[in-house]
Amino acid sequence: MFKRIILLSILVILTYGFWLSTNFKEISAGVAIFLFGMLSLEQGFKAFTGGLLEKLLRQTTDGTWKSLTFGIVSTTFMQSSSLVSVITISFLSAGLIGLTAGIGIIFGANLGTTTGAWLIAGFGMKVKLSAYAMPMLVFGVIGIFQKSRSLNGIGYILAGLGFLFLGIHHMKEGFDAFRDTIDLTTFAVEGYLGMFVFTFIGIIATVIMQSSHATLVIIITALSAQQITYDNALALAIGANVGTTVTAIIGAMSANIQGKRLAAAHLVFNLVTALIAILFIQQIGTTVDWISAKVGIADNNYTLKLAVFHSVFNTLGIIAMVPFIEKLANSLIHIMPEQEPLREKSVYLTDSAIDLPDTAIASVRKETLRLYDNAFEIIAHGLNFHRSVILDPDNTGDVVDTHSALIPVDFDAEYDRSIKGLYGEIIYFISRAQATMTPEQADELFLLRAAGRDIVEAIKETKHMHKNLSLYIVSNNQHIKTEYNKLRTQLANLMRELDKVRNKGDDPAEILSLSNLKLDMKMNDSTANGTLEQLIRDNKISAKMATSLMNDSAYAYEMAKNLIQMGEILFSTSDPEMKNTEKDIALTAEEIADIAADDNVRSTRNTV
């Protein structure tokens, strides 16, 4: 309701303003076109976020200075700190970068965004920008109509730049015409009161437009048309810096706790920077004058001096805050702790990751790994093992006899608590994310969905096995006990091997060793290798036991197959080409059967 009242009020004020003044109409249209240009520009850059930007972000954020540099360079290049913030939040939410690196990027982005003021003040105020805007718009729209993702992206970037230029042109024209009818400098306020009033106006203007760039353009054009004083322009620029955090806060609302922490860090940085700028305004002003004189900016060129001021006070903010990045990150983690959910919920699947295909895939992969971790515990308990026992590299076959005390497990409750909700969220996220993906990326998600299904199937198979397994591992019949313990050991070994493959990272030879597990599975199938028949023939187990063992061997076989399939998808190398090659070299069921039938290998069966 409150939002609607605000919107209505803005619309009424604007309509009254349009009726009152043609120049106000032109300035407002300029702002609207400029903001539309920003949206187009972001849309264009998003087309390229599927590769280069994300790769760079991953490789260049392992140190504070590196993340800082990445923030400066990427924002300078894209001219949108909002886009960099949103991408950083989505990366942080997906767990691809740490909070310290994220904070470094955001600090850098604040400095990077000041280059916009330089460009507008140095270039935009001197050149007739509309002349450049027209061809850009034409080429841009042609590009937008193209099917190719990159041409489409270039089209949006060109159109975005065209609209930005056109917007600046209209704002400039509006303020120039304003000069002849009304002098806004009569509203100037001097001293600290003016500083606070105009800082507040800067905040409000940026909150409404959700772009500090747009506010800065208005400030620079107004300053260039001498409609505001230099001192008030400085205060407005400080306000714009604080107001821009609102965009990040809105972006973080749909993000997880990590994204919210980053938005909080952004707010802290901008508030501290603003405070420094207000407190030391005289000293910063002197520094700006000194730098301007050194680089040859005329004393009365206030627009460029504003750009210098914008860069100087953001640099001061970085100098003041960088030594405290770690402390800030730790405090935020302490103040905003992660909440332990009653029913397992996704951690990495956030709305901010949906529009960035590679991030969306990485998020689904991480979440499916969490699903596997939860499933691991249920399966381990279902096999009557503690997780730590399976993962202990020193334990081999002997582990069974020492851990035969029954572990209570409620499959339905466990499934409901730690699998069902999470799996559902993964499926829902995948179906939403696929809409904006290339066929290759959609295939990747399809595979991850299959891996999730394999995990769920493995739990169901464990549940089926569990009843007989609990009965026979404490049975007086040593033969059936041995067979069930064999099943448990084989599956525990398989889970341990899978864990080894997972932890070896990007080594293709490790993924290929999953074929060994397939061979083990084939050779240890007691139904197929004749063990079961032998036990029945020798009257060592009853008919009921034999039926149970036959069914449970089939469940164990299916479970192993599902887990190996899952491992091949989830633990494969990150390079797409290598992933495909690994898939081709992994042995097929027929090839495994051929090896199992080989005399040299067959002779090893009875002893394993």
């Binding site: 060994n516 090659t581 070299i585 042995l587 080989d598 290998v601 090893t604 002893t607 394993v608």
Partner: protein
């Protein structure tokens, strides 16, 4: 260089197919190298092993690596043929 030859060369250089084939060859070579190393390591382990059960496990692993290495060689040959 004559124009048709130059065109053919530039076409080959810019071709997506060629780039894909080069990438695949690179991956196959990398896997081949890793598998060779693994095979050597397993053979050394087999020579030192005295436990019969563990020996058999290593033999099975070796059989799998051998089959995979064979697959890599076949894939490389296929790639070479399609290049020619």
């Amino acid at each position: 260089m004559k124009l048709p030859k130059l065109l053919k060369l530039s076409q080959a250089l810019l071709s997506d197919n060629k780039n894909n084939m080069d990438d695949r060859k690179k991956c196959l070579k990398e896997i081949q190298r890793k598998l060779k190393k693994k095979s050597k390591r397993l053979k050394e382990k087999l020579d030192c092993e005295t436990n019969e059960d563990l020996k058999n496990t290593i033999k099975k692993d070796l059989a799998v690596v051998k089959a995979q290495r064979k697959k890599v060689v076949n894939e490389l040959l296929k790639l070479k043929e399609s290049k020619d």
